[in-house]
Amino acid sequence: MADMIEIEILRYRPEEDNEPWLQTFQVPYRHEMSVLEALSYIKDELDSTVSFRWSCRMAICGSCGMMVNGVPKLGCKTFLRDYIPGKITLEPLRNFPIERDLVVDMSDFIEKLESIKPYIIPKEEKSVCEGEYIQTPAQLAKFRQFSMCINCGLCYSACPQYGLKKSFMGPAALALLYRYNADSRDGGQAARMKILNQEKGVWSCTFVGYCSEVCPKGVDPAAAIQLGKVESAKDYVIAMFKPEE
């Protein structure tokens, strides 16, 4: 018989439960098995009512974020072998409302992503006939890392400031904001600086740094926010010397 591993899941069924509770499952262990595969086993073989999000199984879609033994991780990129011997506790991503079982309501995060104008606003409109907006590799290198975000929300679960104050724009949205502001083809900086300069913008960040630690794509949102603080401070000083409009 295969070795077994104990997996605890924080269950919450809104039509029956008033608060979440832990349910334990015994799953046959394989060396190459991911947490996401273990969840699929549970759903197929043990309890079909367990809900969780997933899609690509290769850390691209950003759907299967969850707390694994208290740490925000992607289920597909986390392997049972790293928790042997011992049990695994799976909980929905921290700092988000629980919709059902491991599924959270991310709408606040998505609205924040949308609010930072996450698209290139050209400095001057060009017609298609005039050709592409050219960019050199050096210009690309300035922001490329910050464009790797898959919107999984792990950084919001890692951020105690977001947990304590939901108005904070949060790591991923601010990293994406920096990504567009640092793009040589973009001319939307003035509009985005208004968002970044606010108390709920970069200045709510106290540089805990855990967001960068848990990021599965090496985006380093903490760095983007600190660079944002530098830009915000510069913006403030320059504004002091500008005549009133």
Binding site: P137, G163, E213
Partner: protein
């Protein structure tokens, strides 16, 4: 869309006051921020010294004598440890606030962190020479 028949009932988990005790990363963060308390106490001690200096030689010598008390030495050792820990965390975080490019390549964090330690050693040496030669 009509949501009046919705079965949705999102559950919001409360953030407990002890949230930072759950994770080693958060504990170290709180320690880092907590070092500011000891540094603030040290700043007050220095300011009292300045005040005593303005009140004359007897007052200042009294302040100097108070500093030699074992409790005072213990406090200063704690302040030194707090400052050293804060400096270490600060040095480690500094590269995140300054991205330096060499051509298309981002300079890695390690040389930037090392440069700060070299700077610290250089500054300490200058201060030491100043104290010894003055």
């Amino acid at each position: 869309m009509d949501h009046s028949q919705s079965k949705r009932k999102p559950f919001v988990r409360p953030v407990k006051k002890s949230w930072w005790l759950k994770d080693r990363f958060y504990i170290l963060y709180m320690l880092r921020e907590g070092t500011s308390l000891l540094v603030a106490i040290y700043a007050v001690i220095l300011m009292v010294g300045l005040l005593r200096l303005s009140q004359g030689e007897v007052a200042f010598n009294g302040w100097l004598a108070a500093l030699t008390h074992p409790l005072s030495i213990l406090l200063h050792l704690a302040v030194l440890a707090a400052c050293a820990f804060h400096a270490k965390t600060w040095f480690a975080l500094a590269p995140k606030a300054m991205r330096i490019f060499k051509g298309d390549e981002l300079i890695p964090e390690k040389p930037i962190i090392m440069a700060q330690y070299i700077g610290l050693a250089g500054a300490s040496l200058v201060v030491l020479l100043f104290v010894l030669l003055a």
